[in-house]
């Protein structure tokens, strides 16, 4: 055996480990969806009490979207005296504050409050803004929405019911969907990606290990927990992932409630998409390295699992994909071939089929998503959209390295709105 064979074996083994894991996740995600669908619970009549909720919406130059967001928040089906909306305006240089102010005047400060973060305390990113908002608010539960979100009217009820009736839940996350999915092929891909991610990684992990990771928007968390944790980690770019880890470590569960839906705007061009995704990668690597350093003391098996999951995605899987791509191209263009023989082409074809089926299953759970067009897109996705992730991951790594070396401070990384 020569080195190329060992590399091939390495990449095949790791790709397979992750593939096997995703096969399981798909199945359990599907199981979870069936169970949720089979529930005979009526959210309108069967709610047991309405706890007090503070909705935090960090906003930084959001004039394009904030009005719709505020309106959606105001029309949530939840007793008006039981929830209060806080728009945390962190140094917006546009009309964000103005718009929110007008709604505040119209609906009263008890329902909607604009918090302007003072200059000296602001401009340090989403975590910082959330922490500021947390201090100003007083609800028993904290709900976070991004400034471009328009949740369904029942979303808050589902989130609140889930967390309020299950004392073991530290947080409950809802599902987000793509508002602008019909915009172009990129948003269609993103739509497919987010749905399959949520049904596989979130629902599947929840059903299998009783954990999932907070997506940064559309989730509810106990105020007590946030206070115990001292709020969000201001150094984290992926503050949501970071928060999830700390919640697991405290021994709480994070549940997935797919009926609590919100719609958000996804990047409509590659440039914005690339920036957003590299930020996620960079942020997740930060979290991963932060917790890997103290891996011996994490204690919780669930944290270990999640760490492994992230590790396998960002380190093992990524490196394997790179290695296998290199081997693939070497095989085509040069004379370096693997010496190991077997039905590997068939294996690959079947793997491709499994990949496509997994995503098709995830889509089939959603109304109107399992269309012929989408299924055709899945088959194309493997060779196009998915491959782009390679560059994203690379660049994310590079960013992380740069941040580490330059000891850069966190600031607002904002996704451009359309």
């Amino acid at each position: 055996m020569i080195i190329i064979d060992y590399l091939f074996l390495y990449s095949m083994t790791t790709i397979w480990l992750l593939l096997a894991m995703n096969i399981l996740l798909t199945y359990f995600g599907y199981l979870h969806s069936s169970e949720v669908r089979a529930q005979k619970f009526n959210i309108l009549t069967d709610m047991k009490g309405f706890p007090e909720i503070s909705i935090l919406i960090p906003a930084h130059n959001e004039e394009k979207v904030i009005e719709n967001t505020v309106r959606a928040m105001l029309s949530l089906d939840y007793p008006t005296d039981k929830y209060k909306i806080y728009v945390i305006n962190d140094g917006s240089k546009d009309r964000t504050g103005e718009i929110v102010k007008s709604y505040q005047e119209k609906f009263g400060e008890d329902r909607l409050k604009l918090i302007n973060v003072p200059k000296e305390e602001g401009g340090r990113g989403k975590s910082n803004a959330l922490n500021y908002g947390l201090r100003q608010s007083n609800g028993e539960y904290i709900v976070v929405y991004d400034a471009d979100n328009t949740p369904n009217r029942m979303a808050l009820r589902y989130l609140s019911h889930e967390i309020h009736t299950h004392s073991s839940y530290g947080a409950v996350i809802g599902k987000f969907r793509t508002r602008n999915k019909r915009r172009n092929i990129l948003t269609r891909f993103i739509n497919i990606e987010t749905l399959s991610f949520q049904w596989m990684a979130q629902a599947g992990r929840w059903r299998l290990f009783r954990l999932c990771s907070i997506p940064g928007t559309n989730f509810i968390v106990r105020r007590k927990i946030l206070e115990d944790l001292g709020g969000w980690d201001v150094k984290a770019v992926a503050e949501d992932t970071e928060l999830s880890f700390r919640i697991y470590q405290m021994g709480h569960e994070i549940s997935f409630m797919p009926l609590a839906e919100t719609y958000e705007q996804e990047p409509e061009n590659l440039h914005v998409w690339f920036k957003q995704r590299t930020r996620w990668v960079n942020g997740n690597i930060y979290v991963l390295t932060k917790y890997m350093k103290s891996i011996r003391t994490v204690g919780s098996a669930r944290v270990l699992f999640d760490l492994y999951y992230y590790f396998s995605v960002y380190f093992l899987f990524l490196s394997s994909i790179i290695v296998s791509d290199v081997i693939f191209f070497l095989g085509i263009f040069t004379d370096y071939h693997i010496g190991i023989t077997g039905q590997f082409v068939t294996v690959w074809l079947l793997t491709y089929l499994v990949f496509s089926l997994q995503i098709s299953i995830a889509l089939s759970i959603e109304k109107g998503e399992s269309t012929f067009e989408n299924i055709a897109l899945i088959f194309i996705m493997y060779f196009s959209y998915c491959q782009l992730w390679l560059f994203v991951s690379f660049y994310g790594f590079y960013q992380n390295l740069k941040d580490n070396i330059l000891k850069r401070k966190t600031r607002w990384y904002k996704t451009e709105r359309f």
Partner: protein, 551 residues
């Protein structure tokens, strides 16, 4: 007292007689075994523009007999040197023998002298003991007549000799001279081979049939035998490499096996597809391994035809050569010992570990430098094919019978009939012609080869011809051959092959390969199941969603 003495004497006498008889027996046995010594003196090694080395070819040819040969340039000859030898062969390509000592010694010598080619006049000038006269060079001979052995099956004795060749013609003037072969211009005759007292004279050294074959047959009159005399034919299935159609291979094995014809299989254990560097070793293709094993079962003996039939690790683009630089037409510029050891070792290990037992070797296109032959001798007892007699350029010469213990070979099973070429409508006719020619030689071995990718009908035609000639086939497995490479050792004798090799090592390699194959197979199975299950889940889930939507 007397009685005792008498007994003692009888005992002593008995002891003496036994010792003498035993000694006699032993000495007669040893004289039978001690090879005769030949001194081969030459003036030049090759004809102008002929890449074949006539001296090497002749020296190798002598390997059919129980002799050892020392070759020297005539200039190096020292007075009295012939005393150490039983036979003196003088080969004259130009007839330039300026060494007077040599001529003088030969003129008075009682040893058997065999003068082949030019320069005989120098000897005839020196002595009157021979009854022949030198007539000068003659180019006009058109045919040669040779009857040879009385038991010969030949129904023909006159052969055309083709293009103009120079013969050193002699005339005879005594009945004491026995002429074994005549040359004829149509107007007059002159001896091609004659025997006068201790002198054998052949009027031209020629490596082509029929002249070379006549010379080869005449040698049987002169020299003591080594190989038991026989006339046999072999068929070798050629160019069998991992990408060959196994159905065809099996069909060939069935055809020959059903007829009870033993055959050889020229196996190339690894193959590189054109334009690629990746070498596929045959054990990657279980179907092929089984086909070769099947050929073995049906009477095939494996001949290792190189390792890849290419010089695959270097940049030399030698068309199909492995032990010769086909581009520059010169020996490979590598350490040839290492290269031979590497390729042959790999070939032996691969085959043996897969229960395929090569008993002989054959260089791709028969191209091999002299150094490579020497290296090869360490690993294989037996070589099948033709001889590349020099390093001046690629060429091959053929011999009509088996050779043993020569400088180049431990044992050579010659191929001399040619092969079927579908692009040459006369190729089978040529095989038949070659077969007819080889009948000149009484103890011959005739070999033919057939490319495994050709239509089997061609093979049938060749076999039917052999059947019409009532040939006896040579079965390699019945003979003694050995193969040695490190701990890998094969010995074949009387139909049995003894194999020794570190099985664990081979097994470990095989197990690893098998493991990967099985893992891949398992993955296919698992994935198949997952695909099936997921497809069902997908359909179910779509139905559920539809139902929900209707509600």
């Amino acid at each position: 007292m007397f009685r005792r003495k008498g007994l003692l004497i009888i005992l002593l006498l008995l002891a003496c007689v036994t010792t003498i008889t035993l000694g006699n027996q032993m000495s007669s046995a040893s004289t039978e075994e001690v090879p005769k010594r030949i001194l081969l003196i030459y003036d030049f090694r090759n004809y102008f523009a002929d890449l074949r080395d006539s001296i090497t070819t002749t020296r190798e040819l002598l390997g059919h007999f129980n002799v050892v040969v020392d070759e020297i340039d005539q200039a190096e000859y020292q007075s009295g040197q012939i005393d150490q030898y039983d036979y003196i062969f003088v080969i004259g390509l130009q007839g330039i023998f300026r060494n007077q000592d040599m001529i003088k010694d030969l003129a008075i010598s009682e040893k058997t002298i065999c003068w082949v080619g030019k320069g005989i006049e120098l000897l005839l000038d020196e002595t009157d003991r021979y009854h022949i006269r030198y007539e000068g060079p003659i180019y006009d001979f058109a045919t040669v007549t040779y009857w040879g052995d009385q038991d010969s099956r030949r129904d023909k004795s006159v052969y055309p000799i083709g293009v103009k060749r120079e013969f050193s013609a002699v005339s005879i003037y005594s009945d004491e001279v026995e002429v074994l072969s005549w040359l004829d211009t149509g107007l007059f005759k002159s001896p091609f081979v004659l025997n006068d007292d201790n002198l054998w004279y052949v009027s031209r050294i020629d490596l082509n049939e029929p002249l070379f074959y006549i010379f080869a047959d005449v040698l049987m009159e002169i020299l003591p035998g080594k190989v038991e005399g026989y006339q046999k034919v072999y068929i070798r299935i050629e160019d069998v490499h991992p990408f060959r159609d196994t159905k065809k291979l099996r069909a060939i094995a069935d055809y020959l096996g059903d007829k009870g014809i033993p055959f050889m299989v020229g196996l190339i254990p690894a193959h590189r597809l054109p334009g690629e560097k990746y070498v596929t070793e045959f054990d990657e293709l279980p179907d092929f391994v089984e086909a070769i094993q099947y050929m073995q079962e049906r009477g095939g003996t494996i001949i290792l035809n190189g390792y890849t039939h290419t010089i695959y690790e270097s940049d030399i683009k030698g068309e199909g050569f492995e032990y010769w630089d086909g581009d520059k037409d010169q020996p490979l510029e590598v350490n040839i010992d290492d290269w031979v050891r590497y390729t042959i070792g790999r070939g032996i290990m691969l085959t043996v570990e897969n229960e395929i037992y090569p008993l002989g070797f054959e260089a791709p296109h028969y191209a091999m430098s002299q150094g490579a032959y020497a290296s090869l001798k360490k690993y294989f007892s037996t070589y099948s094919g033709q001889i590349q007699s020099s390093d001046w350029g690629f060429s091959s010469s053929t011999v009509p019978y088996e050779l043993r213990d020569t400088k180049l070979f431990n044992k050579l099973l010659p191929e001399n009939l040619g092969y079927v070429d579908p692009f040459d409508p006369d190729s089978i006719q040529k095989i038949k012609h070659n077969y007819e020619m080889i009948q000149i030689v009484r103890h011959h071995m005739a070999g033919v080869f057939f490319h495994s990718y050709l239509d089997i009908e061609y093979l049938e035609e060749v076999v039917e011809f052999f059947e019409s000639q009532n040939v006896e086939y040579y079965d390699m497995r019945q003979d003694f051959h050995w193969v040695k490479f490190g701990e890998y050792e094969l010995i074949s004798d009387q139909g049995e092959i003894t194999v020794q090799y570190p099985e664990e090592r081979g097994d470990a390699r095989k197990r690893l390969r098998l493991f990967f194959n099985r893992t891949a197979f398992l993955l296919v199975g698992v994935l198949g199941l997952v695909v099936y299950a997921f497809a069902r889940i997908l359909l179910k889930s779509r139905k559920q969603t539809d139902r929900k939507m209707k509600e």
